[in-house]
Amino acid sequence: MAEPKTKYDRQLRIWGEQGQAALEKASICLLNCGPTGSETLKNLVLGGVGSITIVDGSKVELGDLGNNFMVDESSLGQSKAKCVCSFLQELNDAVKAKFIEEYPEALIDTNPSFFSQFTLVVATQLVEESMVKLDRICREANVMLIFARSYGLTGLVRISVKEHAVIESKPDHFLDDLRLNNPWPELRGFAEAIDLNVQDPVAHKHIPYVVILVKMADEWIKSHGGSLPSTREEKREFKELLKARMVAMDEDNYKEAIDASFKVFAPRGISSDLQQIIIDSCAEVASNSSDFWVMVAALKEFIANEGGGEAPLEGSIPDMTSSTEHYVNLQKIYQAKSEADFLVIEKRVRNILKKIGRDPNSIPKATIKSFCKNARKLKVCRYRLIEDEYNNPSLPELQKYLTDEDYSIAVGFYILLRAVDRYAANFNSFPGQFDGGMDEDISRLKTTAVGLLNDFGCNGLTLTEDLINEMCRFGAAELHAVAAFIGGIASQEVIKLITKQFVPMSGTYVFNGIDHKSQLLSLY
């Protein structure tokens, strides 16, 4: 087996060849390569991203040796970007690594078009003013952006992308798609051909629970005026009926049927999450719509027509007690229905493409297939511009966080992280950055933070003295362990954004290194 694939074996088991290919195509730009930035990139370089470009104008100082693993004694006085770049290159020679010795703030101001060449920009340790500018640039150029910042025992991670649509969200726990509450004719026909009263005890205990439930639900419907069990009492009764059909205590298939009986009672139709997606205005497609929304438009038509209110069938079934023969045949029935649904959707996709003046074959079959298989799990993530959030944070949310004990430290840090930037803009250093004058710094930070809250129309007294003191104590320190944590989170989110698998975080993640009660704040 070739070495590179073996090297990535443990991650290929998570995001597969396709995810890996997306990573290997991606080009990432890092702004500032202190420990937060370096650690973010390290995790991405190990995973095999295509290329990295490090932008940092600073030289390595003695203090950097104490918090950044990518620089050492021999780096002192040299370009930090260069030293970090050469260490990262050592980790994986498949990655194209380069550096630019320049301050990110300068690039943002003088050369905004620089950023449009990248798949994604990781911006670390930027102050608010630069974040806001960069955010506008990247949004305009359609480049994905993620902010990461470590500050003493706090920090934040925030994604900024106009829209991120996920087909393969791969949730951990998701109800399987068995349609026991709404079986289609072939499934019903298959179940009918199997005799629940078969005399042979071995055969009896190897009837798959899917068959048991379809037949028993049918029986119930016939004697209950066409409806499935709905009240608590009816559900209990239905389970009793199942139990009564057992001929021995060790019939696992019947136990599974009783445990799975809620699938019969479940409401028909699509989830409210999916409903939200199909009524989204983007589902009214035009010639410039993304492939994703074209497929959603087809899905919407399918649900309203052939689907009879349901999404296309996923087509896979969980393992269950069964004879091999029944199981394999059952699998085939689910696969056939799934394939039929796919063909209908594919046709609709091609028609829609034609209608909006695009090449009807521009979306590959495999993509449509994957879309159909995952139709119930689609996710659309949208992120507000940083500037909008900062100028108009959702007040009810902010008030709620400020008064909720679980959130109080995290939201306090959120406010203080913004306050220190205002402070720095006024006083040319962060509070507590230098020794001495701590009391003055504390009172200035307090005034700044209260002013910030008042600007939103919030009561400033909700910030505790303790937290303000701590923030000054941190003095803008970039601690390695905190940077490694923040960098780890940032790289994880980058991977999700690039592979288009799993669901990236929403809102702003505020790290609370005091007791680890970190929170995700949704201020929009």
Binding site: E3, T6, K7, Y8, D9, R10, Q11, L12, R13, I14, K42, N43, L46, G48, E61, G63, L65, G66, N67, D72, E90, L153, P171, D172, D319, S323, T324, Y327, V328, G432, Q433, F434, G436, G437, M438, E470, F474, A477, L479, H480, A481, A484, F485, G487, G488, I489, S491, Q492, E493, I495, F502, V503, P504, M505, S506, G513, I514, D515, H516, L520
Partner: protein, 448 residues
């Protein structure tokens, strides 16, 4: 007046260690002394030099610690390279602990890391007592359980059954799987120990043999049939070696045949390896997150510079980002971190008889026991030299071997047979000798 501090490698850490704070640990005494003591006296053991261990060593070396040791029995493999960033392709085959220690020392000057290329059970208990904090970067429940028992064995209780603070050996423990992980702080006697909350790690569900033999339904069933049933049928007596590529290929080919026979799809070589070796997917980012949390807690425990995690952090990055802190509670009847299993003995019981009793004791079920008393080996099953040296003790009364102390703590290590599963284990016993005046008087007094 704001002064720029003179350049120092400790520039950032000093903010936390030298300045007083409001949200800090009860023992926090900020100052240069604290920073220097951390460097000079604090000793941390990192258990495991894999995905978590590599990160932990780096994080601790850059968090003010200068005396580190690392223990790991494994050698570097190609599949480690996507996350174990201290290793390079040319290191494949070398001991992880040694390479990891060397790489970190090369880059962080002034840090000393002692590697131990061996099994955790190969070290005697005294080895572990030497460290202030033990950081666990392991992927097996058995190994966690073992180190936990060792750390808890140092815990002593006073006469009121309150744990004595100076005998507490704190641990931080991390674990990851794909995009998920946990970090926790264990202070024996204060927080739950690993064993108190063992239910958090349910044993893996195995396929019933009859399913494999009679009604296979999916690819994994076919693979396990080839691996667990067919292999033995064909290779009488030859053990299957998961690291032998020929063996793996054979299992794969057999699984493919069986799948074809039953009309089952999905057997691949990669899946075969995954099922047979029980491979847990692993990536750099999750390991980085969890290790960083563990290293930060280690720094906080050692310095008091902030509050500590109380006591269990879970991280899940599959759907969005979820971190959650749960405060689990101690199991007051825990055999491992509690005061110890009480054993009442006659003064005439010999060491041999005592060892035999351990096998039958319902709470212990320990065979092949080795016994230590206050750091002294009373009987050792291995190595042969020690066995020979201690063999003569077997015929002596335990009471005499314990210096005729009426009531004291013994440590026993051996094989624990629980639920038809064997594992190495260590238990603390409170031995009380019957019919000794002192004890009776004391107990009477206590009961009055």
């Amino acid at each position: 007046m704001a002064d720029a501090a003179p350049p120092s490698k400790s520039r950032d850490l000093d903010k936390l260690l030298l300045r007083p704070g409001n949200l800090v640990g009860p023992s926090f005494e900020p100052g240069v002394q604290l920073r220097d003591d951390l460097q000079e006296y604090a000793k941390v053991l990192v258990v495991g030099a894999g995905g978590l261990g590599c990160e932990l060593l780096k994080d601790l070396a850059l968090s003010g610690f200068k005396n580190l040791e690392v223990i790991d029995m494994d050698r570097i493999e190609v599949t480690n390279l996507n996350r174990q960033f201290l290793f390079r392709l040319e290191d494949v085959g070398k001991p992880k602990a040694e390479v990891a220690a060397k790489r970190v020392m090369e880059r962080v000057s002034g840090v000393n890391i002692v590697p131990h290329f061996c099994r955790i059970e190969d070290k005697d208990i005294e080895f572990y007592s030497d460290f202030n904090i033990i950081a666990l970067g392991l992927d097996s429940i058995e190994a966690r359980s073992y180190i936990n028992a060792v750390a808890c064995s140092f815990l002593e209780y006073d006469s009121d059954d309150n744990p004595r603070e100076e005998t507490m050996k704190p641990m931080v423990d991390g674990g990851t799987e794909g995009f998920k992980g946990h970090a926790r702080v264990i202070v024996p006697g204060v927080t739950p120990c690993f064993e108190c909350t063992i239910w958090l790690f349910p044993p893996q569900v195995k396929f019933p043999l009859c399913t494999l033999a009679e009604t296979p339904r999916n690819a994994a069933h076919c693979i396990e049939y080839a691996h667990l049933i067919k292999w033995d049928e064909v290779h009488s007596g030859k053990a299957f070696d998961p690291d032998n590529p020929d063996h793996m290929k054979w299992v794969y080919d057999e699984a493919v045949k069986r799948a074809e026979l039953f009309g089952i799809q999905g057997v691949t070589y990669s899946l075969t390896q995954g099922v047979v070796k029980n491979i847990i997917p692993a990536i750099a980012s999750t390991n980085a997150i969890i290790s960083a949390a563990c290293a930060l807690e280690t720094l906080k425990i050692a310095s008091g510079c902030s509050k500590t995690l109380s006591n269990y952090l879970t991280y899940n990055g599959v759907e969005g980002l979820h971190t959650k802190v749960t405060e689990f509670v101690k199991d007051k009847d825990c055999l491992v971190c509690g005061p110890g299993v009480l054993v009442e003995l006659d003064t005439t019981v010999t060491l041999q008889k005592f060892i035999d009793m351990l096998e039958e004791h319902p709470k212990l079920l320990m065979s092949k026991a080795s016994i230590t008393y206050r750091g002294k080996n009373l009987y050792m099953q291995a190595p042969p030299v020690l066995e020979e040296m201690t063999r003569s003790n077997l015929s002596l009364p335990l009471y005499d071997l314990m210096d005729k102390v009426p009531k004291d703590i013994l440590h026993v290590t051996g094989t624990i047979n629980k639920d038809n599963k064997k594992s190495s284990g260590l238990r603390k016993l409170r031995v009380i000798f019957k019919g000794i005046d002192g004890v009776t008087d004391m107990d009477m007094a206590g009961g009055a």
